[in-house]
Amino acid sequence: MKGSVLIVGAGPAGMRAAAELINQGFKVILVEEKPTIGGKMAQIDKMFPSNECSTCTILPRMLELTSNPNMTVVAFAEVKGIDGEAGDFKVKVLKKPRYVDPMKCTACTDCFPVCPVGGIPMEFNFGRGAHKAIYFYSPFPPRKALIDPEKCTYILEGKCGDKEVPPCVEVCEPEAIVFGQKPAEVEFNVGAVILATGMDEMKTEALEALGYGKLPNVLTALEYERLLSGLGPTGGVVKRDDKKEPRSIAWYVLSNPSPTGFMTAVAEAMGTIERNPDASVSVFYEDINLARDDYANFYHRAKESNINFIKTDCISVAEGEDGNVDLTYDKESFHAEMFVLVPPYAPTEGTLKLSKTLGLEVDEWGFYSKKTDDTHPIHTAKEGIFVCGSAQEPKGIDDSIIQACSAASHAAALLAPSRRTELVPPPEKDILPVKPGDEPATLAVICRCGVNIAGLLDLDELVDYTKSLPHVKHVEVTPFGCDGVAIREHLKTKDYNRLIIGGCSPKTHEDLFSLHTEMGGLNRYLMEIVNLRNHCTWVHSTDKPKATEKAKTLMRMGESRAALLESLDDIHVTVTPACLVIGGNPSGIACALKLGQAGLDVYLVDKETDLGKTKENQNRFVEKMIVELNSNDKVKVRTEAKVGRVEGFVGNFRAEIVKNSGNESIDIGSVVVATSGDMRAESDNGDFEKDLLLQRDDKNFFIGMLGILNPLDFNTDGVFKCGSARKAMGILDAIIDGEGTASRVAGIISKQELVKSPAISVVVDEKCDGCAYCIEPCPAQALTLIEYMQKDSVKKTVEANEAICRGCGVCMATCPKEGIFVRHFKPEYFEVLINSVTGSE
């Protein structure tokens, strides 16, 4: 049995399934038909209903994933066939020629300006914007150039203009251009396959009847997303092709069984109003299918934001003056300067091709969704081949994420005996020893970030200035620092003991830059990120001289802090390989069963006498699961039980299971809450909800972590929620929720130890007098006040639990005596930052 999984489709579902499986100890091959990964999520501006920026959310995760040694990304490729059986598949993949060797291309972009063939419409932007014959497909990874063989004159005619040697070849220092590249078939031997081929807009005749393809300013919703996107062809300013900024925009949501279409229109209308509060924004729709409370809340917020919602099932369009679109509906008229159509969703071409190639059953629309009661939504007709995300049926991103986690759980359960058999061990670290007091020798890497930084300030001036800063030994300018090439190569010389990266936000890129820093041989805590992009060039994009001055100040601040940084070692916490699942309902049972099938110990606690006798479990899926549960020796079911006190932290909790017959104390590494019902034992047994810092909303559901990519997570590390603990849902959704949560849990308890940041609180006992100001404000409840004896007097101090401290710094802010600080954020670090701005010593 193989310990690897091949995933087809690198949208949010495919990427998440990949990340979950790697985290659980499996190797992943991710095949994507486009030249870059990200799927539709990479093309949209903001995600509903949270209104989070899609690019900011997904890009760092893409970069981390593509940097993982256990991940093989095969982009610009398609699956041609799958042979074998569950546990041992042979998958044939056809790699299309890029005419550029991705192993050699450094993304320097030197080839772009010398290419004489330009004006090629950008497919990623649906024809808006233009690129050369050699180009980047999108701003997303893998950031490697490719050549359009239908436009490149050297490929078509054997010469480039009047030159025998194409200029792109002449300027390419790493000699990455390979005109002789041919399609290549490669075979992967894997244990399971997950199909995550996504969805697309359905281009029907109805769109044409509404002016699409005929009138210049009629777009589809996905095309409009590119206009809203900061990385789109208009830089996030909505403009028509005639450069005019539309003041009145209308959406029309065609009849759609999924709520996704209507919510897309709501999100785009909201994005438009955010940019231009005076715009006239109207959404026409045939019907509303909100389906979820959070969708309804988002819609109501939109209604309060000056967006008109008009129900109509009869709308017609005519060409108006000046490129406008005249709409007529229910005997009314509306003059739109831009008209956006939201069609129903269809499977991608890749889904349709693949279903035929693999002989898999699809529904009437072509999705892998099965409308029978007997088939699990994640399963296909072939054992070991699973499906998730919008390839199964159209859905929002958070639902795709949950399905991806569920699919990962299924694959992990199937391949459990082969867990960690194919993992590539992390490369040996050859870290330069750096002691406090060593003279700083600083490497400064300044990232061009395409035009995001280099185009918006005087880079030469900034480089010269940075070279003049104390301790700076070398300044390197790199096209994209996030690819890690410049960082690793220079650090490997061991000439530097500090690193400053002038690039983008640590919020999104710190983990990635840390990885590159350690791969270069420098302790990650000796690296300082200067946010030139978000804090400077993006916010001062119209004033280059001032942006340059501010960038110099930011680099000066970064250098001053970097000089003080100290090497720190990660904290390793051992893990108890077991889980407590609270709630014996469909999601709790599904979660426990998947964990048990994955070979992990689990305690399932329910207050009823018999899991099979509760009404919600009287369903053929659930009944079958209960039978399997009872025969799985990894699952221990505790009925007529509740949960008392829970102490500890991620990887190491201790919980009390309270029964009439007596209490049982269990050690577990993770906790799942699967019900919104009250599972707390009588008060003298403790309150696990309070112990784990869980909160409920006004409908009594548990409130989880913010962020559309974290639907199953609580803010307390190692604690998860699913099913009716999250919201009201049907049985199948509850099962998928539970299985998805099993993947989240397995990512913790299948490991022997967890690695934790050492940037946590440290008590300075010489200064701490135990005033206790810090205790209550600590959001992680990581601080304990202790008394001790000192020369016959009782003194007080504080104990910080390094396993649960999150390094937020609240304690440091409350302490009047400098008696506690967060490593890596010492008070003197802030002092030098301020002094380097004010010029004080």
Binding site: Y788, M789, E799
Partner: protein
Amino acid sequence: MPNIAEKMDGKKFMWDQQNYPTEKEALDKLAEYEKNGFETRLVKKENQFLVYTRRVVTEIVIEEGGQPL
């Protein structure tokens, strides 16, 4: 000079800042501390006996005036 704080068995213990030349003296002190509800640890270091203590405060009283801003 011994460390003022030591982590033992996953818990933070504080040195009582006294040197006990014999084990018996240290054990006597230890017993006295334990009688007052302290957890204790005895550490032998370079011919000295060191006593470490801790006692978790369950009822926290903030000094008058409340937290500083």
